[in-house]
């Protein structure tokens, strides 16, 4: 049923077509803003750009508003249209997705707050390299999952879910490194702690991006793959490419 995108225009009710297309467009627009929040938060941290940090935090109010508005439209459509089948799944998927997007925005704001704290403390802690690296990974995930939504591309959604495993691994490695920094130089502890919180936020952003991928898989395929291992998601998608290390990772839930 991959033609369901053009399917928005096939309802007998034109108004319903407009409403569905509308929430879908708004969700993608919200995704674009959230993507920028994350990107700016990482730049603000690594470049010590306090002004950018403040701006990124302001964007958060906008995405909070968008979540409320899109979710409200979803609720109204459920009440008025009583959607079924792919329409219902689209609306449920969007309603879940805006909640994950909003939380990604919250994590970005947290990163900004730590960037500001670090700036105000005048320190220049270690760990930026790790933050930049994981930041690039999760930014890529958000970008890819939004593209997957726009194209209803399940293979791409699956790659995003898989990328989350890599982020988790890198996060654990980075945390170990940061602990080593702190032991080597106790004076750096408060600064490095701030960076640790940043890494924690980035890791959570990765989790939310994976959730988004799962919402899309549900929307398109009708199977709820939350809390499933990658391997069984792969089976759901009838992807029979050979398994690699991540596909087989027993912690991939």
């Amino acid at each position: 049923m991959h033609d369901a995108m053009e399917g928005f225009s096939r309802h007998i009710s034109q108004q319903f077509n407009h409403e569905l297309e509308g929430i879908r467009t708004e969700m993608l627009a919200m995704g674009g803003i959230v993507e920028r929040q994350v990107h700016d938060a990482i730049t603000a941290l690594t470049k010590n750009d306090i002004q950018l940090a403040e701006e990124s935090k302001r964007l958060d109010q906008q995405t909070n508003q968008m979540e409320l508005s899109i979710d409200d439209q979803c609720t109204k459509m459920i009440a008025i249209r009583q959607p079924t089948a792919s329409d219902l799944r689209l609306i449920v998927s969007i309603s879940r997705s805006v909640s994950d997007l909003e939380r990604i925005g919250d994590e970005a704001s947290r990163i900004c707050k730590h960037a500001i704290d670090i700036y105000n403390s005048g320190e220049n802690p270690k760990g930026y390299h790790e933050a930049r690296h994981i930041g690039a990974l999760v930014s890529g995930m958000i970008n890819d999952v939004l593209t997957a939504f726009a194209r209803r591309d399940l293979a791409m959604a699956y790659r995003v879910a898989k990328q989350d495993i890599r982020v988790d691994t890198e996060y654990r490695t980075a945390m170990r490194t940061l602990v080593t920094y702190m032991m080597e130089d106790p004076a750096s502890i408060s600064g490095v702690l701030n960076v640790m919180w940043v890494l924690r936020s980035l890791e959570r952003i990765g989790d939310h991006a994976r959730n988004l991928a799962e919402h899309l898989i549900y929307q398109v395929s009708g199977t709820d793959v939350r809390h499933q291992t990658l391997k069984s998601i792969k089976q759901t998608l009838r992807d029979d490419s050979p398994d690699d290390e991540d596909d087989l990772n027993p912690n991939s839930e």
Binding site: M1, G7, R10, H11, I12, S13, F16, Q82, P83, T84, A85, S86, D87, L88, R89, G222
Partner: protein, 252 residues
Amino acid sequence: MTPAKIEIENLSLTFADRQVLNQINLNIPANQVTALIGASGCGKSTLLKCINRLNDLKPQCDIDGAIRIDHEDIYQKSYDVTDLRRKVGMVFQVPNPFPTSIYENVVFGLKLLGVRKRHHLHEAAEKSLRQAALWDEVKDQLNQNALQLSGGQQQRLVIARALAVEPNILMLDEPASALDPISTLKIEELITELKQTYTILLVTHNMHQAARVSDFTAFLDQGRIMETGQTRDIFTNPRRKATEDYITGRYA
């Protein structure tokens, strides 16, 4: 899977060479609600009537295939049609009260079956009128002519009439099309209650009614069964595109 109460096998029906039902295969599970959905003119009412043998005497009507109730072929010569009608209660799409009193309408079937005891008839009338959510409105005017009732009241009256003889299969053809939301919910509650003891076949154009009350759904398209399945699957993730288009209100 619950055992089938009604088995329909390769059922085809033509009216004057016009194919109305085409190779229908369908099992209706016992003590469950099966919803029959599909566009106007696709053959839903015709299929229900076949289960009550209301078509085979019509001129120019040809029926092929088999329908079994409790594993017995209802079209075999020796089958007792009166017995069948008693076993299979039917509420028609257009309410058809008899031009007699409300009370006589409800007890009609029982009288036909030879029930004469007045207290027995009274009890049955009150019980079925209550079940059909009509009792409170008519209890003081049971001798009034049934044709003076409103459309929605007539609809509930014929439901009461069908219930009075306690059939074990109940076929409801658009039973709530003229009802307000409260009466509709009461009828839906009744359907859910009755499935403990009855096998219910429900035709409805209200998709959400089908989703609310039925366990199984069969989608009929131009005389053919397009898709059958658990209602919860059909309404969240149908397998066929034609089903999806129909229930989501898309152009085919």
